[in-house]
Symmetry: C2
Subunit: 157 residues, 2 copies
DNA sequence: CGCATATCGTTATGTGACATAACTATTATG
DNA sequence: CATAATAGTTATGTCACATAACGATATGCG
């Protein structure tokens, strides 16, 4: 008698062709690689992607408020608290009171923070050079342009 | 007497120029937008990005093993368990025993699974069309090419 | 053929990036 | 002056990821 559940065929090669038809899938997979390599790159500095980004923004914008940093990073303000706590605990930045607004803090980098930031940026430059090896300037510019336009779709609302 | 900590200057415009110099940053920000829009797109199907990807791969490769699915999705096998559990509980797929290997399961889609998958794919096509509006075919092909090359850097090791 | 190693899927547990709700203190506005 | 808004925080939750370890089973080697 016929088997109600015949043994399925052996899958020897998995096709992800359908997913590959979406740029989002490519972005996800490529970004996974970037993320993993960046994590490795930042580990010697005891930084993660998110604390690195916060530090860079604070070094480049001394005195910015926590709410401004949250906006710049596109994250929720409550999630910033532990990030700032960690950078402050490591003496990389300071929360300074704002005499004109007692609700707010101004975030300023310390000398150690600037120095670590500079070294981390150099390391991240190498990380990017590795991942973009063989990518020409024209291709690079085009990719940035398209990524910018995708990102802009999210802020238009 | 001089103030030991003078009031920092008011930051009126936050510069993220340093971070913008890295393609990884652009990828992160653009992918955040893709992820948020995709989450909205898949919500009516009660799917998340990860369960959607799993479903598509199972529909396209009926009979594949959990280990194969984990490889295809580049995730750890333990993390697959709750994904498969959820899809199975919703009767979108089945875990079928493999007569030739009692350790393994073959993952097969159900009719409901195929149908939901087809509808979800159409919705994701619209999501992508929205995000890629104004992006030409040449630009699109170039972006895919660069993303593929970045992704390939991660598998070369 | 027996045994060591490898594989498959699972359970258990942990981390970190995200989210929302609600709070207090303070400032801005009408 | 009352009310609304803002700044930062605490509390808590979800989910995508990670590793360790386990039992059952398959494989390969001596």
């Amino acid at each position: 008698m016929s088997k109600p559940n015949p043994a399925p065929p052996v899958v020897t090669r998995v096709s992800d062709a359908t997913l590959r038809g979406f740029v989002g899938y490519h972005m996800k997979r490529a970004f996974n690689v970037v993320q993993a390599d960046l994590a490795t790159t930042l580990k010697p500095f005891d930084l993660r992607m998110i604390t690195y980004s916060a530090l860079v923004l604070i070094v480049d914008n001394p005195g910015l408020r926590q709410s401004q940093l949250a906006d710049a990073m596109d994250i929720e303000r409550p999630n910033l608290v532990v990030i700032i706590d960690e950078l402050e605990r490591r003496d990389l930045i300071l929360r300074e009171k704002v005499p004109t607004d007692r609700r707010a803090y101004a975030l300023v980098p310390t000398l150690a923070g600037r120095q670590l930031c500079a070294r981390a940026i150099e390391a991240v430059k190498s990380h990017e050079a590795r991942l973009l090896q063989g990518v020409g300037m024209t291709e690079y510019a085009q990719v940035l342009d398209v990524l910018r336009r995708i990102e802009a779709k999210g802020t238009k609302e």
